[in-house]
């Protein structure tokens, strides 16, 4: 366990909702997004997509396409397989669920690419796509995850021999004993359909290959996991040190641009093949059908064991997760679930049985919550079910089971730790902000009037800062038990004292990395945050960086900054000591410079120190090198290894945020439509750097959670056709679907991170589905409805009402 930190209290910049550093250029329309990038002689790529969910590719005739004026080349999947190796794959058995940037031999989902056309314009490329003749032999498709389990189901990957890419049952604690002692057991089948991040900007890349130097440069709006980019280099058949990937700001991601390497692979392959820069940007149909970043798609069968007084004892979880056609991130989404599988409650044991199946759908990727939000929803559904069975108030049952603030650090049965929290206080604040008692009274009145008003609440965890172990503790003998997921920064002070910070991953997705960096640097160097210049470096000459994801960025960059600032201060102190003729231990950092303790007038500003460092080496002691800059690689500060038998998965996601959401809804029982009357979100993400920025994520995340709960689903027909290939059918929430979110804060600092910061980027989405499902169910309780499926579309709700009434 790392040392417990003491956090400074007199903070100047941390905790201030300063306007964001990123905004002035974004407001001017100068965001620098990938499609803004234009290179001389640049070509454009478009993908020929499969109309079939599952089919053998019998032949591709690209002759007509190649002859179209303006077309430079057409690369079929078979040709691509000569130019490129398979895509990097963190799945359980990459040799058997091989994933390529273009399909070879057969296609496995509607939208999968079978060829790429490169032309002078995207228009011409698409004209040529229409001329590419692909002969398919359709195969029966497997679309439903439970159908995929059947022994005679069509195989998505013949080499796997089954559609179960991974299965395992974990037991933590003594589940059988706890179930035996339990006085009540509730069980249910719960279904969470797939939705996806769907940022308004799609994934894209621009690649340029210089045959003279052998350097392949790729700009992409998705740079992450830089140390793993050698895998992309291998795919593209260039030496790792000849691949430079450069971060470009993204127009939103929500996980869907995390390690979104396919666009980079396509662009890179085409750039090498044509000798000219190539831009590949998904259009919306590419993105909806083949972007590799759908969210979880799960069938749960769960049993919750408890005592009659509502004390929770144990959980048996069986989950089938429909991963789609490939397994790029393995079952890391369930690692995320296991990080907080017992929620904020004192539950002594759990059994977790996972069947990860492949089907003929686009593969899963990362979507805000990365699989833990589904567990939140499932758990809260079960707690609500138990509460109803025991006729306990949903608030009361939670109060009885919430961990107390003195119980931390708290190790959950899986081995992960919750570092700190005060869940009862978060609940209390939420109830107060929501006016919970008044709404219960209002609910009564509404019921008398024949209206269906419901109050839903959830108490959920928001883990932050993942460890690499969650990607491989699934295997007793993992092929690559990696343990590095660092974040890095280089701080440099120029000869005028101006501070620059270089980041090495695509930190900007709409989160506020520059603002976070500026505020943290400002706090430690005592400079004005608006003067800190933040830039993004490329991967080739950069320090290793993982990028945003798992709400990790602020915590990790804070650690990196702390280290880099420390090094700069050390050197500054040495230089200042020499200049001020004092001993370093008699000096202090004060007002953006170094001064003698007790004699503030005896000081050197950062600029004065810097100019000496840059220009006057021989005026300084021999052991001081020129310059004033420092890089810091910051590794995860609290990771422990899993036990060999996996009965203890170790600590892998320790910085645990928490939230309580309360939703008040009215359901129109004639249509199934849900209207919001009130929405409250109280979050505890430890110490906040920029509260307003976090609030923005809470509201935005809640809106996405609302989408998942009520509106959004990638709908596949029985034969695997994707029915939601436009925004006419995949419905994102507009301003009229999203209620005003009343936000409350609580701050329980982490004992282990700089300033006690915890991650909060995934905020609302991890809670809203649970709160909303709970509210709809509460509204329809008099009718006996159970909300067991998301999205709870109006039609589904109406069907549930009819079924409950008919029963």
């Amino acid at each position: 366990m790392p040392a417990v930190r003491e956090h400074p209290t007199d903070l100047k910049w941390i905790g201030k909702s300063i306007p964001r550093i990123e905004d002035p250029r974004l407001l001017r329309g100068r965001g620098g997004y990938i499609d803004d990038l234009v290179l001389p002689r640049m070509l454009h790529a478009a993908i020929v997509r499969s109309p079939h969910a599952h089919a053998r590719i019998m032949g591709i005739d690209a002759a007509a396409a190649r002859q179209l004026p303006g077309v430079v080349t057409v690369i079929t999947g078979a040709e691509a397989a000569e130019l490129c190796d398979p895509m990097p794959d963190f799945g359980p058995d990459p040799a058997r669920h091989t994933w390529r940037c273009l399909a070879v031999e057969k296609v496995r989902n509607v939208g999968e690419g079978v060829a790429v056309v490169v032309a002078e314009s995207r228009h011409i490329a698409e004209d040529a796509c229409d001329l590419v003749e692909v002969t398919y032999e359709p195969l029966p498709a497997v679309v439903d995850p439970e159908a995929a389990l059947a022994p005679d189901a069509p195989l998505v990957h013949e080499a796997l021999g089954s559609n179960v890419a991974y299965t395992r049952k974990f037991d933590f604690g003594d589940v059988d004993a706890d179930f035996a002692e339990a006085e009540v057991v509730v069980s249910d089948r719960l279904r969470w359909h797939r939705s996806g991040g769907q940022p308004l900007e799609t994934v894209g890349a621009v690649a340029q290959y210089d045959p003279g130097t052998g350097m392949l440069t790729i700009w992409e709006n998705s740079l992450s996991f830089t140390s793993y980019l050698f895998l992309l280099a291998m795919t593209l058949k260039v030496p790792a040190n000849k691949l430079d990937v450069r971060a470009v700001p993204a127009g939103g991601s929500f996980g869907s641009k995390l390690w979104a390497v396919k666009a980079a692979a396509v662009a890179g392959m085409c750039a090498k093949a044509t000798g000219r820069p190539v831009k590949f940007i998904e259009d919306r149909v590419d993105n909806l059908s083949n972007s590799d970043h759908c969210g979880s798609d799960r069938v749960y069968n769960v049993e919750l064991a408890a005592m009659r007084d509502g004390t929770l004892r144990s959980l048996r979880i069986h989950v089938v997760d429909d991963y789609g056609a490939y397994m790029q991130f393995g079952v890391g989404h369930h690692g995320n679930a296991l990080a907080q599988v017992t929620g904020p409650y004192r539950i002594g044991s759990i059994s977790y049985e996972l069947q990860a199946v492949v089907t003929n759908k686009c593969q899963q990727g990362a979507y805000r919550g990365f699989g833990s939000e589904v567990n939140n929803w499932m758990l809260e559904r079960m707690v609500d079910l138990l509460a109803r069975k025991l006729e306990l108030d949903p608030v009361e049952i939670r109060r009885r089971n919430l961990l107390g603030k003195d119980e931390f650090p708290y190790f959950i049965p899986t081995g992960n730790v919750y570092d700190s929290g005060d869940y009862a206080e978060v609940l209390r604040k939420a109830l107060e902000l929501a006016g919970y008692d008044q709404w219960r009274a209002e609910q009564e009145r509404a019921r008398q009037e024949g209206r269906y008003l419901g109050i839903g609440l959830c108490s959920c965890q928001e883990r932050s800062v993942f460890s690499a172990t969650e990607f491989w503790f699934w295997f007793d003998e993992p092929a690559a038990p990696v343990t590095s997921m660092p974040e890095s920064i280089t701080l440099s002070v120029d000869a005028t004292g101006g501070v620059s910070a270089t980041l090495y991953s695509c930190a900007f997705w709409g989160n506020s990395p520059e603002t976070m960096v500026a505020q943290l640097v400002a706090e430690q160097l005592d400079v004005d945050p608006t003067t800190v210049n933040v830039v993004y470096g490329g991967s080739n000459t950069g320090l290793p960086a993982t990028g945003p994801g798992g709400s990790r960025f602020t915590v990790m960059i804070a650690g990196a900054i702390e280290g880099a600032v420390g090094k700069i201060k050390d050197k500054a102190f040495k230089i200042a000591a020499h200049l001020l003729e004092a001993a370093p231990e008699d000096l202090e950092w004060r007002e953006g410079g170094v001064s003698v303790k007790g004699t503030p007038t005896s000081r050197k500003s950062l600029g004065e120190v810097a100019v000496m460092a840059h220009l006057f080496k021989h005026s300084l002691p021999d052991d001081i090198e020129s310059g004033l800059e420092a890089g810091q690689v910051f590794d995860h500060p609290y990771t422990t290894m899993p036990s060999p038998d996996r009965s203890d998965l170790g600590v892998f996601y320790p910085f645990m945020g928490h939230a309580c959401h309360i939703a008040v809804v009215e359901v129109d029982v004639e249509t199934g439509a849900v209207e919001f009357l009130k929405y409250v979100a109280v979050h505890d993400c430890g110490t906040l750097v920029n509260p307003r920025s976090l609030e923005g994520h809470i509201v935005g995340g809640t809106a996405q959670g609302l989408g998942t709960a009520l509106l959004e689903q990638f709908v596949y027909s029985d034969d695997g056709n994707l029915l939601t290939q436009s925004y006419f059918d995949y419905l994102l929430p507009s301003a009229l679907e999203v209620p005003e979110v009343v936000i409350g804060h609580h701050e329980t600092p982490s004992p282990y991170t700089p300033y006690g910061i915890k991650g909060g980027g995934e905020a609302g989405r991890m809670m809203a589905p649970a709160a909303i499902a709970s509210a709809v169910e509460d509204a329809l309780a008099p009718l006996g409805v159970r909300v067991h499926t998301l999205p709870a579309t109006p039609e589904r709700v109406l069907t549930w009402i009819e079924e409950a009434q008919g029963a």
Partner: protein
């Protein structure tokens, strides 16, 4: 079909003449030919609104207009908001209220908000919510956008053009 047709229009007050293929959309022309990259391409079927610009003072979906159709029109893009390098009061309000996160919907939202305030200089929060509902945002959940527009309501001096 690869014939190019002449167009002339005024973009952010600057007379512009060009020859374009008929199927080039207005958003492509603005972005690629004029380097005005503030209007974005998000869906190309008119739903998301990231391509919103003002044409003759009215908001339009520039992904659904062919450049040749804008012949003779006055176009305003987000680049036309800031004057003399200073942010427009509307932009300043967005900045103060953090009415943006990734910024991709922001140029469209700004122009839509400008139109909204031109028609309704002192809207209620509900009217703003209704008024911006035609443009999607995936990051903010709309709340701080609404706060920004309300904050700007007292500061936006002049309406750009009259709605047709």
């Amino acid at each position: 079909m690869t014939e190019r047709l002449p167009v002339s229009m005024v973009v952010n007050g600057v007379p512009t003449v060009a020859e374009v293929e008929p199927r080039r959309s207005l958003v492509e022309f603005l972005r690629e030919d004029l380097g005005l990259v503030g209007a974005h391409v998000g869906c190309e079927h008119g739903v998301c609104g990231t391509c919103t610009v003002l044409m003759n003072g009215e908001s339009v979906r520039s992904c659904l207009m062919f450049t040749v159709q804008a012949n003779g029109a006055e176009i305003q893009t987000v680049e036309g908001l800031a004057a003399n390098g200073e942010l427009h009061p509307l932009q300043e309000a967005f900045r103060e209220k953090q009415g943006l996160q990734c910024g991709f919907c922001t140029p469209g939202m700004l122009l839509l908000a400008l139109e909204l305030l031109g028609e309704n200089p002192h809207p209620t929060a509900a009217e703003v919510r209704q008024g911006i509902a035609g443009n999607l945002c995936r990051c903010t959940g709309y709340q701080f956008i609404i706060e920004a527009v309300l904050a700007a309501a007292d500061r936006v001096p002049i309406v750009v053009g009259e709605p047709a």
